[in-house]
């Protein structure tokens, strides 16, 4: 016979918890009880501003464009001179201007989020309208670069550089177009949550561009 009391398992669990708490104290870590008592806002996953799914999308886009840019730079190792010659046909000045365009558009979108939170519907729409127009300016500058390349007889199959640059910048431009539609939609809805989500997508487009621009146009 063991002679153990019926409360033994409970006492064992309590003792184990106490031991873990003691260990946690010595290592300045939150004890299991402290961890459990954290408020909803203190949980790491709940600290992320905005929609969790939008953050999943942002991470995915960084990963996709990052992989594309790594592939671009890896293929460049096979023909550095050819890549440098091909790069000289791109509109570097237009692309640099497009960085300013997107950064400014992102600023207007960030201000629109604040206006939405303050319930200023008219102000948020007045901020989102030029943000969308700047997106159109981006696409016009990008389109003029493509038109110039096509006029020179350059296409996606002219050189590996153009295969990658058209693919990466074209995919990014498609995101700009989608972002413009999204900003128009959330401006029409006007709710803080919708505007925050639309602006987050727009900032992601901005973020991808600041990684893409130096690799494709400058290095």
């Amino acid at each position: 016979m063991t002679g153990a009391s019926p409360d033994a398992p409970r006492q064992l669990r309590a003792s184990s918890l106490a031991t873990r708490e003691e260990k946690s104290k010595t290592h300045d870590e939150p004890s299991p009880r402290e961890e459990k008592s954290k408020t909803y806002d203190e949980q790491p996953r709940n600290q992320l501003p905005g929609e969790l799914l939008m953050w999943v999308l942002i991470l995915s886009e960084i990963a996709v464009f990052g992989a594309g840019l790594i592939a671009f730079l890896a293929v460049r190792l096979t023909d550095p001179a050819g890549f440098a010659e091909a790069q000289s046909h791109l509109h570097r000045t237009g692309a640099a201007a497009n960085t300013l365009v997107l950064v400014t558009s992102g600023w207007l979108a960030a201000l629109a989020v604040k206006a939405a939170e303050a319930g200023q519907l008219r102000r948020l729409r007045l901020l989102l309208a030029p943000a969308i127009l700047l997106g159109a300016v981006f696409l016009i500058l990008k389109g003029s670069e493509y038109a110039d390349l096509f006029a020179q007889g350059i296409g996606t199959e002219t050189h590996a550089f153009y295969t990658f640059s058209f693919l990466l910048t074209g995919f990014h431009a498609a995101h700009v177009l989608a972002g413009m539609v999204l900003l128009a939609l959330v401006g029409w809805l006007g709710t803080p949550k919708a505007v925050e989500t639309g602006a987050a997508f727009w900032h992601m487009v901005d973020l991808v561009w600041v990684l893409l621009f130096p690799v494709v146009y400058l290095l």
């Binding site: 501003p49 960084i62 950064v103 600023w107």
Partner: protein, 82 residues
């Protein structure tokens, strides 16, 4: 001045610095390192101030680490081509 406006001014300044390096005629590490470092700084500012990760410092550090690894990979491959 709001946080977003300060961030915009900083991003414009960082973009101008990138353009200055690109127009300087530098090649190799003298071009790659500063241009990619400025790119990383711009990404950090967008995440912190535009996307609001200043309220989630742990997540901001995580994104910064991931982006730093990506940019170091870009830099290594770019320098290998010179």
């Amino acid at each position: 001045m709001t946080r977003a406006t300060k961030a915009w001014a900083l991003l414009i300044a960082l973009s101008a610095a990138s353009t200055a390096f690109a127009a300087s005629g530098f090649t190799g590490a003298a071009l790659v390192v500063p241009v990619l470092a400025l790119s990383g700084l711009k990404a950090h500012v967008i995440l912190r101030d535009y996307l609001g990760l200043s309220v989630a410092p742990g997540w901001l550090r995580g994104f910064d680490l991931g982006l730093a690894l990506l940019i170091v990979t870009f830099g290594t491959l770019a320098l290998a081509a010179y």
